[in-house]
């Protein structure tokens, strides 16, 4: 075998989005030699696409905001399924993380008194999203990219080498994590990672006692999605194969407003900021239909008339918010129903109208990229006519199971943060809570990894046999398959996207999940026969063939979890089980790899299995932040026995 390029680091961060960069900054600032690996160029990660903003209870626009209110909103948005400790840390630490960005050079939009401005978003009680027009993700990512450069400049000044302590390996894909079975008892700890350079196709091996996964989401397994080609669930699948577990994989967020026309842009996101700033949804009759879709659990929290809703934008103390800003799962389902019942727009969506609600200049100032996007891609002038929008696969709430405080998974030395980590958002993520999640938990994972490495007695070792297996796996698609005709990776991918879209979409049934699992089994068999043309140099067909392994693993996790959860909640709606079921609230579905030990040696796509486990009950002081009547909509009676409201209301009877 030819000599493989090898590198040694203390901390290897896989992913250069918001979470990965924040983790790397932290690890490097703690003095550890850190590498960042990413599939695209530096500065192109998915985070650049985030539009609306970053949620943090700074209270700049409404001083009543606080971490407690943010915490409550987050738990409500996730229908009380969230890992409450993560939601707590997130709400408490987000403001510091945003302010820190200003010290790196970020320039957010300002309030009249010069502080960071904050905008309204669905599910947030107060205006809470720090933003820069509708390009907040770009500001976040570029700011941290520039912070990395600043740290490299400091190293250059000290050592003469920009990359002495922090290096970015761009256009480099990790295909396998490597563990050391001779390590500590229990789980084999992380020893490094194996991958290839996209440009040359050559292999590369990283030895590192700590790996932070920050690989983002899974949306590219769905046909209509706001996600880019990078979202193939690599981190989810890598973690499974290394022996870690995933939680909540049935919860996939369909953003209510994606573009629906022309077909080639179907799925591209229309930011929730349009509604946050005053845009409203209408059906083909011109009705603001959302007033008819406020679910029982949110009754009383939303305006009941158009007048009240319109007054709320200016006076939030005396009016309730518009139901256009219900959490995303509610709005997506409502749009789905309107279209199904024949009140949709010509291209199968509904109307999102901002044109009639504010002057053209104001729209262009507040939503410049939306204006640009519709003008350039759809010939629609959003200052003059309504947009046509419909649901699009946007975000995965499920992800790698981690310790809330350190981000460590079940595998020692393996950490995860950002969209690929699970738990924080429960069954449904609020808009704006991802960018803040990246900052809070990216930093914590970097810190967790640094502490772990500092405390290690022995550096785990990589087994050469594992390296050879990983290398052989990547080259398999180039081998001739005499038995079969050979599968085209693009065709396989399109077939997978159709299965997930049609069968595991917004509205699900048992029969569809069973059918989806059958179809996924067929695809798993076909992926063995994938054949790619050409050579290893920058070959997208080959790259896709390798990504398919991960997409298929993660898709099975989603479909199996969705089959088991016989209730409807957040990003999981079962037509055959339409209600919330309190007995499901305290249970979490955990996915693991069935044959993790042989994963490298055997199957191209190792099988996954899903089991139910109990969630950790919320700490009493946090539970006390909610009124009993609200909790009773979600919890079983025994779970609420200790709530302070219990005694007073029921006079002490159990």
């Amino acid at each position: 075998m030819t000599e493989i390029e090898r590198h040694d680091y203390d901390v290897l961060v896989i992913g250069a989005g918001g979470a990965g960069l924040r983790a790397a900054i932290e690890a490097r600032e703690r003095g550890l030699r850190t590498a960042i690996v990413c599939k695209s160029l530096f500065g192109k990660a998915h985070t650049v696409m985030a539009e609306g903003g970053c949620a943090a209870a700074m209270g700049n626009v409404n001083e009543h905001d606080s971490w407690q209110v943010h915490f409550r909103d987050t738990m409500r948005g996730g229908k009380f399924l969230n890992n409450w400790r993560m939601a707590e840390l997130h709400a408490k630490e987000a403001p510091d993380r945003v302010w820190e960005l200003e010290t790196y050079g970020a320039l957010f939009d300002r309030t009249a008194d010069g502080r960071i401005s904050q905008r309204h978003f669905g599910g947030h009680t107060y205006p809470r999203l720090a933003h820069v027009g509708d390009r907040t993700g770009l500001e976040l990512l570029r700011t941290m990219q520039q912070r990395i450069v600043a740290l490299q400049q400091a190293d250059h000044a000290a050592t003469g080498d920009y990359e002495a302590r922090l290096r970015v390996f761009a256009e480099c894909t990790v295909t396998e994590l490597l563990t050391d079975p001779a390590g500590a008892g229990g789980h084999a700890p992380i020893a490094g990672a194996f991958g290839y350079w996209r440009e040359s196709g050559r292999h590369v091996l990283f030895s590192a006692p700590a790996v932070v996964l920050a690989t983002g989401g899974i949306g590219k397994s769905f046909q209509v999605t706001s996600n880019s080609w990078e979202y193939t669930g690599d981190g989810h699948a890598l973690a499974l194969r290394a022996g870690a577990s995933l939680v909540d994989m049935e919860f996939v967020q369909f953003h209510p407003t994606g573009m629906v026309w022309p077909p080639s842009v179907k799925g591209i996101l229309v930011t929730e900021g349009v509604r946050g700033d005053g845009g409203v949804l209408r059906n083909s009759d011109g009705d603001r239909f959302m007033f008819g879709y406020v679910p029982d659990v949110f009754k009383g929290q939303y305006a009941q008339t158009e007048d009240e809703a319109d007054r709320w934008y200016d006076d939030q103390e005396n009016n309730r918010r518009t139901p256009d800003l219900l959490p995303r799962d509610e709005v997506a389902r409502a749009i789905n129903t309107e279209v199904k019942e024949g009140r949709g727009s010509p291209h199968g969506g509904v109307y999102l109208d901002i044109a009639s609600r504010m002057p053209a200049e104001e729209i262009k100032r507040r939503l410049p990229s939306m204006y640009h996007q519709f003008k350039e891609l759809a010939d629609v002038d959003i200052t003059a006519e309504p947009m046509e929008v419909g649901p699009t696969c946007h975000y995965v709430m499920g992800g790698i199971e981690v310790d809330p405080d350190t981000g460590q998974s079940r595998v020692p030395g393996l950490f995860a943060a950002g969209e690929c980590a699970g738990g924080m958002h429960g069954s449904n993520r609020l808009g704006g809570n991802s960018l803040s999640d990246l900052l809070v938990f990216g930093r914590r994972a970097g810190l967790g990894a640094a502490d772990y490495v500092t405390g290690l007695e022995r550096r785990p070792a990589i087994r050469e046999a594992d390296v050879e297996t990983a290398a052989a796996m990547t080259l398999a698609p180039f081998e001739a398959h005499p038995a079969a005709a050979g599968e085209n990776p693009y065709t396989l991918h399109a077939d997978l996207q159709r299965v997930m879209n049609d069968l595991v979409g917004i509205i699900r049934t048992e029969a569809e999940m069973v059918a989806a699992l059958d179809r996924l089994a067929e695809l798993r068999a076909r992926v063995h026969d994938v054949v790619v043309e050409g050579h290893r140099q920058y070959n997208p067909g080959w790259h896709l063939a390798l990504d398919l392994r991960n997409m298929l693993m993660v898709s099975e996790a989603v479909a199996s979890s969705a089959l088991l959860r016989t209730e409807s909640r957040g990003g999981h709606t079962r037509e055959d089980h339409p209600g919330l079921d309190p007995q499901w609230r305290h249970r979490v579905l955990v996915t693991h790899c069935v044959d993790a030990s042989e994963a490298g040696a055997g199957a191209v796509v190792p099988r996954t299995a899903v089991e139910a486990a109990e969630r950790v009950p919320m700490r009493a002081d946090l539970l006390a932040l909610f009124d009993l009547p609200e909790l009773e909509k979600y919890y079983t009676a025994p779970e609420l026995a200790g709530h302070p409201g219990r005694g007073s209301r029921q006079g002490g009877t159990p």
Binding site: L138, Q153, V265, E376
Partner: protein
């Protein structure tokens, strides 16, 4: 509506290459990148092309279409007639890696040479106060998606590899302007802009502004004001002194 479009796509690598002819289906509302993806899926599975967001937000898919630097994902097929031959070539200013993918490391090297944001020592996180009108100037430049089309088009380096060493290019001269106009930055990059980053080589042709997909007025709002700052400094030390003093006060 759907038709058979004629495409000429540059195929090759560092060793050389040529335009290859393809006939491929084009549908209503599509952009050039959609058609290239169809080519990959049906005729040329190993055609190398960079892209990420397909929404004009990441700046990955830069190339030249009929000789003009553009984003593949924001160039609609409707700007061509069905009978036109659409020629797609890699950015010319950067070394080609394969097909439409070029080596843009030049830009990352230049980015490292610009001294970073330098915050005021006496402000803690959370204490930053800036007026919207004051941040807007730098915010315009921070819309940059780093597509490097301006770098590709600027004649100082296009077909002039020998100038690359001494010239940061419009994108990074603009980065200097952005930091200089940041209301709270305390570093001084004005002399270096001229002496180290090659601002003097720019003769304000505005070609960079014309290709910028973000519509940033690179020349008018970044390069010319920077040139004025350099000129003020050079010829009138008092102006320089006056500026630093008034800056400390506000």
């Amino acid at each position: 509506m759907s038709y058979k479009g004629r495409f000429r796509v540059w195929r090759g690598d560092a060793a050389g290459g040529a335009l290859a002819d393809y006939t491929v289906e084009v549908n209503d509302g599509e952009v050039v990148l959609d058609v290239l993806h169809r080519l990959q899926a049906t005729q040329a599975p190993d055609l190398a092309v960079r892209w990420n967001c397909k929404a004009g937000k990441c700046g990955s898919c830069s190339a030249e279409i009929n000789g003009r630097p553009r984003l593949l994902c924001m160039t609609r097929m409707s700007v061509f007639a069905p009978t036109d031959v659409v020629t797609v070539t890699p950015m010319r200013t950067f070394p080609v890696l394969r097909d439409l993918v070029t080596d843009v490391s030049f830009n990352y090297a230049k980015a490292r040479e610009v001294p970073s944001f330098t915050p005021p020592a006496d402000l803690a996180p959370g204490e930053y106060r800036m007026a919207q009108v004051d941040v807007e100037r730098s915010q315009e430049f921070r819309k940059c998606i780093e597509c490097f089309l301006c770098q590709d088009t600027c004649h100082v380096v296009r077909d002039h590899d020998e100038n690359k060493e001494a010239f940061a290019g419009p994108r990074f001269l603009m980065r200097i302007a952005e930091l200089e106009m940041h209301p709270l930055d305390v570093a001084d990059r004005v002399p270096a802009a001229q002496d180290e980053h090659g601002l003097g080589r720019c003769n304000i042709t505005k070609c960079c502004t014309e290709v910028c997909p973000e519509g940033i007025k690179i020349t008018d709002n970044a390069l010319i004001p920077m040139k004025e700052r350099v000129a003020d400094r050079r010829y009138d030390p008092l102006v320089w002194l006056g500026r630093t003093i008034s800056r400390r006060r506000d």
